[in-house]
Symmetry: C2
Subunit: 461 residues, 2 copies
């Protein structure tokens, strides 16, 4: 309603109609749909994250599960026109239709347009999330934990990727592209979840904690490169070695280049921010940079999130960084849940119903992925060398939670159809389970003593 | 690119296509378009607001003028498919088409979808702006300045509305609906601009300053009721007294009801916020409330912004208010400029070219509107009674700047066609000029002494 509300006035006033699109006629109702969907998403995300918090699980998992509940698997409040779903399948759209006395064609137009808007908002949410993760990542911390973190990260990417892809192809006879995609989804450790859990255990500053966080940071970068490689690979429909090399090189050049040019960008950013005297003097230049890098990441055939992550890494070094951290939080708090809830909402858990014979393969795959995901990260503890008495179990367990980047893969799978539904849902289950088991396992791995340690305040989920 | 990027993978993978819409095929390019347009809007808004600040004008005017420059009047970077404009008219779309080798039909689909997304973002921006204005408005302050502010506000609404509407109908032979709409656009004083200018003059806490701010707050409410009444009026195409009464009653009941129930909402909000322990514990409940009230405002045939404003007024009383004020700022800083820049971008200043004979009426109207707008507010100073020695000139001049709500009217006019183009642009020129003249006039009205007064820090534009 509002600007667009009055677009409906065309019919009432005696000026010639100037609208080019049929969709614009329904704009007020599209905005109504967007507002109702956002309210639903926000309520779901808050209930989900609070319940998860009460149960001592990461809040982000609660948002995902809440998304499953309001989505296509259960309540049918937040659904998308994929998989042949229509407006009549959505309770919100049915309510809007009754409220505005719309024709069946009219509500379909509204449904498709509002879904497009919610999808773009979710994409802006994940762009902002990766920008924030980039800001939270610390290049200098990496250099201190150095070679240990790099080895742990590389083993933690290679082992589950190789075992997962090979197992899916050899045991489950999955085609190469979806097998590689699912294998890639096993790679990235969640820096947010990992650092949050460590801080809750008071282990963030321990030797093991530093290696885990350092490796999780590298993992994040590797995971995004793997994501870009795999997603671009899938575009060609086959494994094109030249393309893989091009992508690895361009991803590396893009990231390293951004970081090397970071000094220049930082000086420019800091001096621009210092000169600006109106509201938004920090946040608007930061988002100009983040959104432009996101656009650029796409333009060179990588991903928008890679650009946003690079932008975050670069501005991480900026003098205005602390202020930017504070300012980006409410924006991320508002937009990021749209991404997680819609990822959950798109996941059709109905395919895991074991009474349907064709679903049983999906359940087997989920069990296989969870086992590979856990063992593939546990072994990283034994890759650590040169530190006597290091708690190898703690490091291995600390690398287990997947979270954001794993969900990003699942989200891409859900939206694109690279992964069939059982495989998509298996990945989501893998992400949920690995993240669920990490907190209690970490508590055990670090020993009983930490249970009485006071939690260190952390701002990250 | 990202979630939707991979929607384009449909063609590359061997699963059956599940997409319901043609638009989804172009989703990655739609996101590219949205990112590029947002970057353009942000750059324009920042340059505009900084230049305005340098020249001692309110930053919001700079954003509007910058919008005019990037919009349909000049650079053709940010345009909308109204008035028969196509993707080929947009420089950004032409660049996207070349970059992605799109067909002419493809780029039109992208143009229409990304315009829809930008329009919704602009609408969310103005919803958030009015929510913020509601939060900034202070019911208790109103009670202190009391009857004086109410009289000034009522005279300041009635005088320019009556003179403007009557003049347009009698002198310029404008039809009733657009004349009433344009007259209504003359009513609302900009609380943001007014309080900012007063604070810069160090007069925010003076007797005159308190009356001006109090009256501006009431004006804001009256202006929004007038907006709702006029917009709803226009839907029926004629003046329906029953409808007007219904709207005045429902607007009043909605606002007063929200405020009376405010105590309940406040307690509920405060206790919910206190119980929440995850990120977004304040901002998400606040936006659930604001967006739901916006939806409700529309559902009872008022406006979304009225609901958002009421939500702001209610939460203004909340214990969490100071924190909420801080958290909403970066969100508003990011989304509100999208509204102002697109309002400017939609305004086709070409119709004011005096060498085109049919444009001359528009210029005459603009001169008339400016004169009525200034005189209609100046007289309010003489409506003040019972305060000996009050600076009547200062109060009258302080009520002159229009700003937000005036631009909202212009935006509705631009989007809806209730106002023909000369009338739309005349309103924008009226808003620009009244806001431009206020700061220097106020300085003169308060006398030379205030020029040396230290400015009080104000967070409002």
């Amino acid at each position: 309603m509002f600007l667009n509300d009055t677009l409906a006035l065309w019919s009432a006033v005696s000026t010639p109609p100037l609208l080019a699109t049929v969709a614009a006629e329904y704009s007020p109702i599209i905005l109504s749909g967007v507002l109702l969907t956002l309210v639903t998403i926000f309520i779901a995300s808050k209930i989900g994250s609070e319940v998860a918090k009460q149960l001592d699980f990461p809040p982000v998992l609660g948002e995902l599960v809440a998304g499953v509940i309001v989505g296509v698997s259960a309540l049918h409040l937040v659904i998308f026109p994929e998989g042949g779903l229509a407006a009549t399948d959505s309770l919100l759209m049915t309510a809007l239709q009754a409220l505005n006395q719309l024709s069946p064609e009219g509500i379909e137009t509204v449904f498709e347009s509002q879904s497009e808007v919610i999808s773009v908002l979710a994409e802006l949410g994940v762009i902002i999330l990766l920008f924030e993760i980039g800001l939270e990542s610390d290049l200098r911390q990496l250099k201190e934990v150095g070679i240990q973190a790099i080895v742990v990260a590389c083993v933690g990417v290679a082992a589950p990727f190789a075992a997962g892809t090979a197992g899916l192809m050899l045991v489950f006879h999955v085609a190469a592209i979806p097998a590689i995609f699912a294998g890639a989804a096993l790679t990235a450790t969640s820096i947010g979840i990992t650092s949050k859990v460590l801080s809750e255990l008071g282990q963030l500053k321990s030797k093991e904690g530093q290696i885990i966080v350092g490796a999780a940071v590298i993992d994040d970068v590797l995971g995004i490169i793997v994501l870009a490689v795999v997603a671009s690979l899938a575009k060609t429909g086959e494994i094109d070695v030249t393309n893989v090399i091009y992508l690895i090189v361009s991803a590396t050049v893009f990231l390293i280049g951004s970081i090397l040019l970071g000094g220049f960008f930082n000086k420019a950013f800091t001096s621009i921010v210092a000169k600006l005297k109106t509201r938004g003097n920090i946040i608007i230049p930061a988002f100009i940079f983040a959104f432009f890098m996101a656009f650029l990441g796409n333009a060179i055939h990588l991903e928008a999130i890679l650009g946003a992550f690079a932008a975050g890494l670069v501005l991480d070094e900026s003098d205005a960084r602390d202020e930017l951290d504070e300012l980006i939080k409410p924006i991320a708090d508002l937009l990021v849940p749209i991404f997680f809830v819609t990822v959950g909402a798109r996941a059709d858990l109905g395919v895991l119903n074991p009474t349907v014979p064709e679903n049983r393969a999906g359940l087997l795959i989920a069990v296989f992925l969870v086992v590979v995901a856990v063992i593939g990260k546990l072994v990283t503890g034994w890759a650590v060398f040169g530190i006597p008495g290091v708690n190898r179990w703690a490091i291995g367990v600390g690398m287990i939670p997947r979270g954001e980047v794993g969900l990003v893969f699942a989200g891409i799978g859900a939206a694109s159809g690279i992964l069939d539904k059982p495989l998509q849902v298996s990945i989501i289950i893998m992400v949920i389970l690995t993240t669920f088991v990490a907190p209690p396992f970490l508590r055990v791995a670090f020993g009983e003593s930490v249970e009485t340690a006071p939690p260190i305040e952390s701002t990250s989920e």
